[in-house]
C-alpha cells in the first residue's frame, strides 16, 4: 500500500497558506445538506463539532460521558503552547516548529508540525474571546511559563487547570450550537463500530449506555476525536474511562494504525503506593520550572531528605543536561530518573522515586509566590500522600501519560479510509516519538478549530450529499450492528470466574515491563506471547455480571479491555520491528555510550502504519518515509 500524505507543494512556510487559498469549498447553501458525525467531545471533538456547526453543516456528536464537559481533556493541568512571542524572548513559529520536531526526535511529518505552530497563535485568540481566564500580569497582559524542551516562555495557563478552562470554552461553544439545534448531542453513547461501505466511512454503530440500545447512524463523514490509548497499561495518568475502542474498531475496519509503540512516560507523577492502586496522578511539568530533581549521591542512603547535606545530593538533570536542566524533555527526564533508581539511589519506601524539591524556589520567591503558582498541585499531593511539599520535597516517579501513536492521517487529517477523519490524541500526526509538554492541548484545538473546517470542506465538496442508501450500503449498516450485537453476547456469555479488572491489571503489567520505558527484543517477544495467553484466558474465564439491556459498567469495561488486549500485542510488534531507539522508544540494544537513544535514520526515518489482516493473523506493516526538506536530522542534545 502506498501512503500518500497529500502534503501541498511549495516552501514549508507557505504550504498551509497556499492550501487554504486553493482549497475546494462547499457553498453556504449546500453545507446544510451534509451530515457529519463527530465521535468524542473533548478538546478536539468539541472544537470541531462547534466550528463545523457554525459553518452550517449538520452535526451529530457522541460521547460516552454523561456530559461533554467531563472528557479527559478536563484534567490537563499545566498549559498550552503558542508562538505568540509576547515575552519578546525570541520565540517564533519557526522556533516552535523546530522545538516540536526535535522534541519528537525527528519522527514526525514536517508539514503538519509547521502548520500546528502556525495556527497556535489563533488558538489563544479564540480561547480568550470565549472567556477562558488565562493567567495575566498586573498590567492586564497574558503571562507565560516555560515547559520542557524549550528555551523560551510560550506556555499559556490558567492556574493548574488549563485543560479544564480550555474544555469549558470549547464546551460552551458546543453548547451554544446544541441550544440552537445545529448539533444533535448524544451523551452516554459509545461508538462500538465503524460502518464502511463502498470503500468509504459512512457511519457508526453506537450503544446507549443507559438502556443498551444499539443504533446505526449514517453520515457523509465521520470524525474520530476519541483521545489516547494509554490505559492499555492499566495504571496511567489518564481518566479511567479513556480507551481505544473507537480507533481500534476503525482499525479493524481498515484504518491504518500508526506508531502504536510510541507512548509517553511522564517523569513527574506521584509514585505507586499499593496493589489496589487504580490510577496515577500527574504532578504538572510546570513544577519543573521551580522544582529541582535530585537523589542521594550514594546508593542505599535511606536518610530523610532533610538530613542529606547539599554536597551529598545529585541534582542529576542539572548535572547531565546543564543547558535545559530540570526542563529536559519528558522521555529524557524519565529515563534519567529510571537510571538513578536502577542504581539503587531511588527514594521512598519502594525505592522507585526521586525528589522534586522546592526549597530553593521558596527561599528565592517566598512561599506566597510558590503557592500562587502551584497551590492546587501541592494540595493534591498532600491529599494523596498525606505529606506537605512546602516542608519536604515531593517524591515523584515516571508514569504512562500520553500516546503519540494513533490512527494514520494525511495532511488533511483523513485516514486511509475516505471520509474517516481523526483528530486530537487519537491520531498520530504531530508529536513523533515524544511529545513536548503543553502541545497536546494545542494540537487538539488546532485540529478542531482551524484545520478540519478547511480540510473537511475540501473532501465534502467532491461528494454528493448522501441520500437514501442503496441496498449494499444498507446491508453494511445491518452487518455492523449485528457484529456489535454478537460481540456483546459473547462477552456476557463467558460467565467465567474473574472480573475484568484483573485481566486489565495483568495486561498493564506486561506492557509496563516489556513495552515501557526500556525495551528489548527478547522482552517484546515474550510480551507478545504473554498477551496472547492472557487474551485466551480472558475469553475463557471472564465474568461480566448483568445484561446488555441495562446500564452495565462491567460490560463497558470488558469491551474496552478486549480491545486493549488486541492493541497491546500490536504495540509490542511495532516496538519489535522498530529496531532502533528514538524518543520514547528506547531499545536497549541501540544506545549511545552515555545511554541515550541511538537512532537509525537510514532505516527508520519513517512512520510505521499497520494494516489489520484478521483475527489471529499478523498485521501488515506499511511505511510512510519521512522526508525532511527544511530541517536536518541531528542528534538530539539537551546538554
Amino acid at each position: 500500500m502506498k501512503l500518500d500524505a497529500r502534503v501541498p507543494a511549495g516552501p514549508l512556510a507557505d504550504k498551509w497558506k497556499n492550501f487554504k487559498a486553493s482549497v475546494r469549498l462547499v457553498s453556504p447553501a449546500n453545507k446544510r445538506k451534509y451530515e457529519v458525525i463527530v465521535v468524542g467531545t473533548g478538546l478536539a471533538g468539541a472544537s470541531a463539532a462547534a466550528s463545523l456547526a457554525e459553518l452550517g453543516y449538520r452535526v451529530k456528536a457522541f460521547c460516552f460521558h454523561d456530559s461533554p464537559r467531563r472528557a479527559h481533556s478536563i484534567a490537563a493541568q499545566g498549559g498550552i503552547n503558542a508562538a505568540k512571542n509576547y515575552q519578546n524572548d525570541g520565540d517564533s513559529v519557526r522556533r516552535l516548529f523546530y522545538d516540536t520536531i526535535k522534541g519528537g526526535d525527528f519522527r514526525s511529518r514536517e508539514a503538519n508540525v509547521y502548520r500546528l505552530a502556525e495556527v497556535s497563535v489563533n488558538i489563544i485568540d479564540q480561547c480568550v474571546a470565549q472567556g477562558v481566564p488565562f493567567a495575566r500580569e498586573y498590567g492586564g497582559m497574558l503571562t507565560n511559563r516555560s515547559f520542557g524542551g524549550a528555551q523560551v516562555s510560550r506556555t499559556f495557563y490558567a492556574r493548574g487547570a488549563t485543560g479544564q478552562q480550555l474544555l469549558l470554552g470549547a464546551y460552551s461553544a458546543l453548547s451554544r450550537q446544541i441550544g440552537q439545534g445545529r448539533v444533535q448531542m448524544f451523551p452516554r453513547h459509545e461508538m462500538l463500530d465503524l460502518v464502511v461501505a463502498d470503500g468509504k466511512a459512512q457511519g457508526i454503530v453506537t450503544r446507549n449506555l443507559v438502556n443498551g440500545e444499539l443504533k446505526a447512524h449514517a453520515a457523509d463523514a465521520v470524525l474520530l476525536c476519541t483521545g489516547g490509548y494509554g490505559n492499555a497499561y492499566y495504571l496511567s495518568t489518564y481518566a479511567r474511562g479513556s480507551n481505544a475502542t473507537a480507533i481500534w474498531r476503525a482499525h479493524r475496519r481498515g484504518a491504518l494504525f500508526a506508531n502504536p509503540c510510541f507512548t509517553q512516560i511522564h517523569p513527574t507523577c506521584i509514585p505507586v503506593s499499593g496493589e489496589y492502586q487504580s490510577k496515577l496522578t500527574l504532578m504538572s511539568e510546570s513544577l519543573r520550572n521551580d522544582g529541582r530533581c535530585w537523589v542521594p549521591k550514594h546508593a542505599g542512603d535511606r536518610r530523610p531528605a532533610g538530613l542529606i547535606p547539599e554536597e551529598e545530593r545529585d541534582y542529576f538533570l542539572e548535572r547531565i543536561y546543564p543547558s535545559y536542566g530540570n526542563l529536559a524533555p519528558r522521555d529524557i527526564a524519565s529515563r534519567a530518573a529510571k537510571r538513578v533508581c536502577d542504581e539503587g539511589r531511588g527514594v521512598g519506601k519502594s525505592g522507585l522515586g526521586v525528589y522534586l524539591d522546592f526549597s530553593e524556589a521558596i527561599g528565592r520567591l517566598g512561599q506566597k509566590t510558590v503557592q500562587e503558582r502551584y497551590a492546587n498541585l501541592f494540595d493534591m499531593y498532600h491529599e494523596i500522600t498525606g505529606e506537605s511539599a512546602y516542608e519536604a520535597p515531593m517524591r515523584i516517579f515516571p508514569a504512562v501519560h500520553y500516546t503519540m501513536g494513533g490512527l494514520w492521517v494525511d495532511y488533511h487529517l483523513m485516514s486511509n479510509l475516505p471520509g474517516l477523519f481523526v483528530l486530537g490524541e487519537a491520531n498520530f500526526s504531530d508529536h513523533g516519538a515524544n511529545r513536548l509538554g503543553a502541545s497536546a492541548l494545542m494540537q487538539g484545538l488546532a485540529d478542531g478549530y482551524f484545520v478540519i473546517p478547511y480540510t473537511l470542506g475540501d473532501y465534502l465538496s467532491q461528494q454528493k450529499p448522501s441520500g437514501p442508501r442503496n441496498a449494499a450500503e444498507t446491508e453494511a449498516f445491518w452487518a455492523a450492528t449485528e457484529d456489535v450485537q454478537n460481540r456483546i453476547r459473547k462477552l456476557l456469555e463467558v460467565r467465567g470466574g474473574r472480573p475484568v479488572s484483573e485481566f486489565h491489571r495483568q495486561l498493564g503489567k506486561i506492557l509496563w515491563d516489556q513495552c515501557g520505558m526500556s525495551r528489548t527484543r527478547k522482552g517484546l517477544e515474550q510480551g507478545i506471547e504473554q498477551i496472547r495467553q492472557l487474551r485466551k484466558e480472558f475469553w475463557e474465564d471472564l465474568n461480566v455480571p448483568g445484561s446488555g439491556e441495562d446500564l452495565n459498567q462491567s460490560l463497558e469495561k470488558a469491551g474496552r479491555v478486549a480491545d486493549f488486549l488486541e492493541l497491546g500485542e500490536l504495540m509490542c510488534r511495532d516496538a519489535l520491528e522498530r529496531d532502533e531507539s528514538c524518543g520514547c522508544h528506547f531499545r536497549e540494544e541501540h544506545q549511545t555510550a552515555e545511554g541515550e537513544c541511538a537512532r537509525k535514520d537510514d532505516s527508520f526515518a519513517q512512520v510505521a502504519a499497520w494494516e489489520y489482516s484478521g483475527e489471529g493473523k499478523a498485521a501488515v506493516r506499511h511505511v510512510e518515509p519521512l522526508k525532511y526538506e527544511e530541517v536536518s536530522l541531528a542528534t538530539r542534545s539537551y546538554k
Binding site: 466550528s51 484534567a75 492556574r159 451554544r176 446544541i178 472480573p499 455480571p545
Partner: protein, 248 residues
Amino acid sequence: MKLHLKIWRQPGKDHPGKLEMYDLDGLNPDMSFLEMMDVLNDRLTREGKEPVAFEHDCREGICGSCAMAINGEPHGPNDGATTCQVYLRSFKDGETLTVEPWRARAFPVLKDLVTDRSAFDRIMQAGGFISVNTGQAPDANAMPIGKETAEQAFDAAHCIGCGACVAACRNGSAMLFVAAKVSHLGLLPQGQPERKQRVRRMVEAMDAAGFGNCSNQYACEAVCPKEISADLIARMNRDYALSLVPKL
C-alpha cells in the same frame, strides 16, 4: 482496616431502591474511597452478584463525575474535595458509612449511585457562552484584563459541574452552579455584550429544569469541592434584576 457500608441499590430509574449492607475487611488507610468501591465491586463480581454502579473518571477532583454522598454529606467529609479525593484515612476503623446518590428532583437516579445531571447541560445550552464563532477573535492581548479580574473570573470558572450544591440544598436549588457560570462570564469584558440575556436565559432554563428556589441557607457553599463563594448568588440576583429592567 474494616468498614461497614450501607449502599443505595436501585436497579433502574423507575424501580424502588434500598440500602444494602456490605462489610469490607483488610482495607488499607492509604486507599482512596473509590478504590475501596473497586475492591467491593470485584468481590461482588466474583460472588456472581452485580457490582455497584457509580460514576467516576479522572479520580483527581476535576471532571465532576463522582457524585455520591457519604453519611449524608455530598462528596464526603473533606472540605474542598470531591469523593474521589477522599482517602480511607479520613475514617475510623470499624466505622459504618452510608453511601447514597445525589438526592434532587432535577437529578433522577438512573441506577444505584448514578444520577442524570443533564439538566446542567440544558442550562449551559440556554446561555452559558459568549457568542463568538471560530475565527472571529481579535489578538488575545488587544484587550487588557486586570490580574485581579482574571483571578476572580477563574475562581468562578473553576466549578466542575458536579451538582453537590444541588444535592446539599434542601430545596434542590442550582443557584450556586448557575451563579458561578454567570459570574465567570459577567466579570470579563468579553462577556458584557450578552450579560443581560445570558443571566435571564440561564435562570429561565434552571427554573424549567425543576430546580428549587434559594432560601439563603448556603449549604451549597459548604459542600462545594471548588469552594465557589455564595456571594456569587447575590451577584447573579443583581444581574438578573437588572436584566428585567426594560431598556430606556
